[in-house]
């Protein structure tokens, strides 16, 4: 029966799974979402939590929050939602842990709250994008071009440019973030 369910929901999109859960309140739909993204949530937990044992609790609380919110709210971008909520939960658990152990001052006060369609940009022409890329720092520009337009791996880029692999990754990541900021300014 478990196998049948897994096969049955495999090709359903995240949005449809959430809609079906909203209608039927059947936990099997949320379970499918859990099976799809548990490893990603767990990875984010590993990055942001102070102790690995928190990860399991965070996973449980995220699924409970999802089941609660999906009943009433519309979640359009599930992956972004999971990312923000996972980070928030990690900070919250870290805060609770630090309170228990040292009564230290609240150092995770700047919680990020998820907002739908926060920085959504649509209909960007190639010309506008190339203009925005031109405004980036040279290292970011170089890594972005090699990665997206020449389809080179981190390793190849590092070899070609002489940067460290970690630097390559962060240049690409920062380039994307900055591009969004530049584009949003240009569109306005």
């Amino acid at each position: 029966m478990l196998l049948i369910n897994k096969q049955k929901y495999k090709n359903i999109s995240d949005k449809k799974l959430l809609d079906k859960y909203k209608q039927s309140r059947n936990k099997a739909f949320i379970e499918e979402i859990f099976n799809r993204y548990a490893h990603l949530i767990y990875g984010v937990c590993l990055k942001y939590s102070n102790a690995n044992r928190i990860c399991k609790d965070v996973l449980i609380s995220i699924m409970e929050i999802l089941m609660k919110q999906a009943k009433t709210k519309e979640i359009t971008n599930l992956k972004s939602w999971l990312y923000v909520v996972t980070k928030n939960e990690c900070f919250r658990h870290n805060k609770e842990m630090s309170k228990i152990h040292s009564n230290s001052i609240d150092q995770y006060n700047n919680n990020i709250y998820y907002q739908e369609n926060e920085n959504e940009i649509n209909d960007v022409s190639d010309k506008l994008l190339l203009e925005a890329i031109a405004e980036l720092v040279d290292e970011q520009k170089q890594c972005l071009n090699l990665f997206y337009f020449e389809q080179k791996s981190y390793k190849q880029i590092a070899k070609q440019t002489g940067f460290d692999i970690k630097k390559v990754k962060s240049y690409i990541q920062n380039a994307k973030r900055n591009l969004k900021i530049i584009l949003s300014k240009k569109i306005k």
Binding site: I30, A38, K47, N52, S153, L179
Partner: protein, 367 residues
């Protein structure tokens, strides 16, 4: 695809397996780029990918953590699944307990259907004087359909334990077995003889299909027992007896008759007679039981008892066994009253029906 989508488009998440492959260094540059591209497409993918690169051992813990979390969050779903499975098992066992014949009757239908395709006008009977015929009959059926025989064996095993205590369910409670009555009637019509009722074949033997009409003279069972019967020494004894009675197997009329016919086929005549008696105790005028009981008695050499039953069969308005009963009555009479036997054989020969030739042979033998 425009350039914006190339950079900011959403890609599928990287799976655990792909991450493991990536971290093990098995992949070529193109495959590595593909995974990196997907990891760059979303913050959650990027951070998770980075975390596993720093801590590759964590990938191995995922399946354990997933199972634990799944059990604690979705436990009600698990319980529901188990509940449904248990409920199905219980309902099937209850069904089997109350209707033990639910599958048996289907098997019987199959047997009857198979046999009807091989129907013959003559009733094959193992002859005491010619032992060959009985073995031939058995071999023939063995060649013909192995499944028939295995089913029969199974049924015989069942009937061994429940032989004397078996109850026969009145036909009205069971569905009639579908058979092609028209075929059997038309093949007999070629000989200028038609049956006045529907027939069917059980264990390769011709029988009257009583499911096609009601029988009014059915003996109703009355088994209400109150108090302790003098046959028991104490209540303990009665309990054991009661338990044995409770283990009775309910069989349809045709299933039981078929078992009796298999006994007959295997030359277990006295066991077959006991089963025909059980049928006759409930259906006093059952011609199937009467005729085949007479045949069994004939095989055992109890000719006088057999003749009495043959007479009852011939006198009955149903003509299905008339020819056979007359012929075997004549053969029985050869052992008791030869003159009457010869006059009866002469009559059969004059009728020019199926047994005419055989009657002539017997006449020439006894002249």
């Amino acid at each position: 695809m425009n350039l914006y989508n190339k950079i900011f488009g959403n890609n599928n998440s990287v799976s655990v397996k792909e991450m493991e492959d990536y971290l093990s260094g098995k992949l070529n540059d193109k495959e590595m780029h593909d995974i990196e591209l997907r990891a760059q497409s979303n913050d959650i993918d990027f951070d998770a990918f980075e975390a596993y690169q720093q801590n590759p051992k964590a990938l191995k813990n995922i399946s354990v953590i997933k199972t634990k979390v799944s059990k604690s969050v979705f436990k009600t779903t698990y319980y529901l699944k188990y509940f449904i499975i248990i409920a199905i098992i219980i309902s099937i066992s209850v069904l089997i307990f109350f209707y033990p014949n639910i599958f048996n009757t289907k098997n019987n239908n199959k047997i009857a259907d198979n046999i009807i395709t091989n129907q013959k006008n003559e009733i094959k009977t193992p002859n005491k004087q010619q032992k060959e015929s009985s073995t031939e009959l058995f071999e023939e059926s063995a060649k013909e359909n192995h499944t028939n025989i295995t089913n029969a064996k199974k049924e015989q095993k069942q009937s061994k334990s429940n032989n004397t205590q078996t109850e026969i369910i009145p036909l009205e409670q069971k569905q009639a077995v579908t058979i092609n009555v028209l075929d059997s009637i038309s093949s007999n019509a070629k000989l200028g003889f038609t049956y006045n009722v529907g027939i069917k074949y059980l264990a390769k033997y011709k029988c009257i299909d009583y499911s096609l009409y009601n029988r009014n003279n059915t003996k109703k069972k009355n088994r209400q027992i109150k108090g302790l019967n003098p046959e028991y020494a104490n209540l303990e004894d009665k309990k054991h007896k009661q338990q044995a009675l409770n283990n009775n197997l309910n069989l349809s009329y045709f299933a039981y008759l078929e078992k009796a016919l298999y006994k007959y086929k295997k030359t277990k005549y006295s066991e077959a007679i006991a089963m025909y008696n059980t049928i006759l105790s409930q259906y006093k005028e059952d011609l199937n039981a009467k005729f085949y009981k007479a045949m069994a008695l004939y095989q055992l050499g109890k000719y006088e008892k057999a003749i009495l039953l043959y007479n009852q069969v011939i006198e009955n308005s149903i003509n299905v066994f008339d020819q056979e009963a007359e012929y075997y009555k004549a053969l029985s009479l050869l052992h008791t009253n030869k003159t009457e036997a010869i006059s009866l054989l002469q009559k059969i020969a004059d009728d020019a029906l199926f047994y005419a030739q055989k009657a002539l042979i017997k006449l020439s033998e006894n002249e």
